[in-house]
């Protein structure tokens, strides 16, 4: 058997050399590791800010500039925001014109939302756990709440600015307010919800119809849970809502949701509003005196009560008035998206070529979905509905006879 050596040459001698080389490399790798740990991004900002404060406010002030990781623990929201590690000037006066991250935060907003109670990310978005710019700003994979910054605003809401995008975060807590100062785009969305009568079909904040899906927590729906099959272009929750508000049927074939022919700005406002309906897990102590429920206004309630006492009481109690006015009985609809029921006897025959009683028993179009999902009337109730519609039409004819010129025929 041939003699086997450790390696060419004296056994072990090469091992000693190898050991030496490895030791040097290991020391090098360890030095690299220590260097990476020892020079975090925030240290530069802290040094810079220290110099800035020293120049402007003197040595004494400079000693108050903190060093190391700075953390805001927000027990009310279960968040640890380490943003102040770089954003040092937030609470300092005199750096209003500075560049980020060394810039004073606008005072008004901080008074209402002190950072020691609210932290940063609740309003701004971003990943508060991280302490390097890229990951902290959260424009990285697997972080669903990126910082609402100018570049993101520019791509989603051209011309609208960063504050509009941040309004989405405001509404997580301010959702039950009818209007929130500074959140114009969200306020616009809320007005549209009232004007267009979204609640006729959708439950929002616990109030509304059952024909469409409950939207109260629609913002929690994950990107993976949308059907992008009919959406061309970039796939995101925002683009899905945009396309859906533009033409619901183009995205969801079986939907009964009509297209409201909204201008692009309204569509963006509504998309942001829907996405803002999220659970943020905020303690009640942070909500202060914000409304906790979304109830109809006193005027709306008073009107409904008055109408319930009138001749059109049946339409009010049953809920028809949510979409349909019955003008001959003085029944007004908060969201009159359906035709006036005063002339339903005529209307139905003209539009569906069937008498009203047949239509009520076996409806088609939108009313099919309404009767199937929201107002599930028994045969006896349907007979009653026909009797009520006949009564309304009789009243309409009576009024016509008295005042032939009255414009009673509605949409």
């Amino acid at each position: 058997m041939a003699r086997v050596t450790l390696n060419a040459g004296e056994p072990g001698r090469r091992d000693v050399a190898l050991l030496a080389v490895l030791a040097v490399l290991l020391v090098g790798a360890t030095a690299w590791l220590v260097y990476r740990e020892a020079v975090p991004e925030y240290r530069d900002h802290q040094r810079q800010f220290g110099n800035l404060v020293q120049r402007r406010l003197g040595d004494a002030a400079a000693t108050a500039v903190p060093a190391g990781i700075q953390q805001l623990w927000v027990p009310g929201a279960g968040r640890a925001d380490r943003c102040p590690s770089c954003h040092l000037a937030t609470a300092w006066r005199g750096f209003e014109r500075g560049d980020e991250p060394l810039r004073t935060h606008p005072a008004g907003m901080l008074r209402a939302h002190p950072t020691n109670r609210f932290g940063c990310t609740l309003c701004h978005g971003g990943q508060g756990w991280a302490v390097d710019r890229e990951r902290a700003h959260g424009h990285v994979p697997y972080w669903p709440e990126p910082l609402a910054d100018a570049s993101m605003a520019a791509s989603l809401l051209p011309g609208a600015g960063r504050a509009s995008l941040m309004a989405l975060n405001c509404n997580a807590c301010h959702r039950y307010e009818t209007a929130t100062a500074g959140a114009e785009i969200i306020n616009r969305g809320k007005r549209l919800v009232d004007e267009k009568g979204c609640r006729a079909c959708h439950r929002i904040n616990g109030r509304g119809g059952l024909i469409g899906p409950d939207l109260s927590w629609a913002g929690d729906k994950n990107p993976e849970q949308y059907d992008y099959g009919r959406l061309s272009g970039r796939r995101s929750v925002f683009t899905w809502h945009e396309a859906h508000f533009q033409d619901p049927r183009a995205l969801v074939a079986e939907t009964v949701m009509p297209s409201f022919h909204l201008p692009p700005d309204d569509i963006k406002a509504l998309a942001l509003l829907v996405m803002s309906w999220r659970r943020v897990g905020v303690d009640a102590s942070l909500l202060g005196d914000l409304p906790r429920t979304d109830s109809p206004s006193p005027q709306e309630r008073a009107l409904a009560a008055e109408m319930e006492r009138g001749p059109g009481a049946w339409f009010v109690k049953t809920g028809c008035y949510q979409c349909h006015p019955v003008s001959v009985f003085g029944v007004k609809s908060p969201t009159p998206i359906g035709p006036d029921l005063s002339t339903a006897m005529d209307d139905v025959e003209r539009r569906f070529s069937v008498p009203v009683d047949t239509f009520v028993k076996n409806p088609s179009g939108t009313m099919k979905a309404v009767f199937a999902r929201q107002f599930m009337l028994s045969p006896a109730q349907k007979d009653e509905a026909v009797r009520e519609l006949r009564a309304a039409y009789a009243e309409f004819q009576r009024q016509q006879a008295v005042m032939p010129a009255a414009p009673a025929r509605a949409k």
Binding site: M1, R3, V4, T5, L6, N7, P11, G12, D15, V16, L18, L19, L22, A23, L25, L26, A29, T30, W32, L33, R36, E37, I69, Q71, A80, R82, W129, A130, V131, R135, P141, Y142, W143, P144, E145, P146, M152, L156, N222, P223, E224, Q225, Y226, Y228, R234, R235, S236, V237, F238, M275
Partner: protein, 396 residues
């Protein structure tokens, strides 16, 4: 006098007392002298030692992680964020732990391949050897390594962890009769939650490491008892033997430092992923098993077919029948291999040619399927590395 299986605290004779010392692994890690063939770089490539060094590195890096990690579904994810972002060197310790774990799976597999190819599970000496049992211990340690890695997979409690374990548990529960019971025992219920996290954590930090340490001790002791690296028997020649210390110790140190260096550098350049927090309501697309089980998931996916009214249960075939059959075959192979002892250490000897080629073919299939599994994208579609995945949806 019959020899004791274990050393006694009350030795009955001087011989027994001596035996107790001689049987002590720590005192006799190295023999006084070793053959040059046993410490040559080839054909062992020192893969077993590398595995051991990785195991030690995993224990060392695991200790500080245990200080900061909280095994609770409410806090696990955030504690990993803390380790990653604010604990001093936390990002590197976590990366080193992860890299060492992945490397351990790779190296231990290569070790098994090497032992098989050189027929080192065969007894070829005049002295009493039980290399076949060391092979069985080795197979058990391969399973232990996979179990260590797999139980660690769940701990970050992110989407990757949650769904990889969900996929694997679905496969486990498709085992005939005992499947659901095994799943229930492993995760403490039907769904992955706090009980699953706690059980995985205890398996990961206590049960499996201790079992591995015991198996390892026996594995090393067996290697010494069987006369070091397997070879065809040859007369002892003084020129082929070196004194273990310093020659072997030095070489072990070289291997340890090299392993440590590789782990250090890889941990510096490969950041550890952490996906979104676990969410039982949102299945990521694709949801993949850990990479070392991807070849099984691939088989599961490919064998789940419906032919007419007959549905083939892919999870049962790919997840249970096939791996169990392979594992049983692997364990029993020393007794099934009837080739002569002289083939030990030889490269592709005629007598073992068929089994070696079949083994290589199976290994190649496993590697290819793992690669295919790695390249799967949304809806389990195949994507080449240069092909971007079709439009992964985001919030904005």
């Amino acid at each position: 006098m019959t020899r004791r299986r274990f050393w006694s605290l009350r030795p009955a004779s001087t011989g027994e007392a001596t035996d107790a010392i001689l049987a002590n692994l720590l005192l006799h890690w190295f023999p006084a002298r070793m053959r040059l063939t046993s410490i040559a770089w080839t054909p062992s490539f020192w893969l077993g030692t590398v595995t051991w060094v990785l195991f030690v590195l995993l224990l060392l890096s695991g200790l500080p992680l245990m200080v900061f990690y909280v095994p609770s579904t409410r806090e696990a994810y955030q504690s990993i964020k803390d380790i990653e972002h604010v604990v001093s060197f936390g990002w590197w310790i976590r990366a080193a732990h992860r890299i060492a774990a992945h490397l351990m799976v790779i190296v231990v597999s290569l070790h098994l391949v090497r032992v098989f190819l050189t027929g080192a599970y065969k007894n070829a000496g005049q002295r009493e050897q039980h290399r076949e049992w060391n092979w069985v211990i080795g197979v058990a340690m391969l399973v232990g390594t996979l179990l260590l890695s797999f139980t660690g997979y769940l701990l970050p409690w992110d989407q990757l962890a949650f769904w990889a374990v969900t996929v694997s548990m679905n496969i486990v529960s498709s085992t005939l009769l005992v499947g659901p019971a095994i799943r229930d025992a492993l995760i403490g219920g039907r769904e992955i939650g706090q009980t699953a996290l706690m059980r995985f954590y205890l398996l990961h930090i206590v049960v499996v490491p201790i079992a591995m340490a015991v198996l390892f001790a026996y594995h090393m002791w067996r290697v010494r008892k069987d006369g070091g690296l397997a070879r065809g028997d040859a007369p002892q020649d003084a020129a082929e033997v070196v004194v273990a210390i310093p020659a072997v110790a030095r070489r072990v140190t070289v291997v340890a430092l090299l392993t440590w260096l590789v782990v250090t550098v890889l941990a510096l350049v490969i950041p550890s992923p952490l996906e979104e927090a676990a969410n039982a309501l949102v299945t990521p697309n694709p949801a993949k098993a850990p990479w070392y089980f991807l070849w099984l998931q691939e088989i599961v996916a490919d064998t789940t077919v419906r032919i007419g009214s007959v549905a083939v249960n892919g999870a049962f075939i790919g997840g249970v029948v096939l791996p169990m059959a392979l594992l049983v075959l692997l364990t029993l192979w020393p007794w099934l291999d009837r080739s002569p002892a002289a083939t030990v250490g030889a490269t592709l000897p005629r007598e073992r040619r068929t089994q070696v080629l079949v083994f290589i073919a199976i290994a190649a299939i496993v590697i290819v399927l793992t690669g295919v599994g790695l390249l799967r994208g949304p809806s389990w579609q195949f994507y080449w590395p240069w092909q971007p995945w079709a439009n992964v949806p985001t919030r904005f």
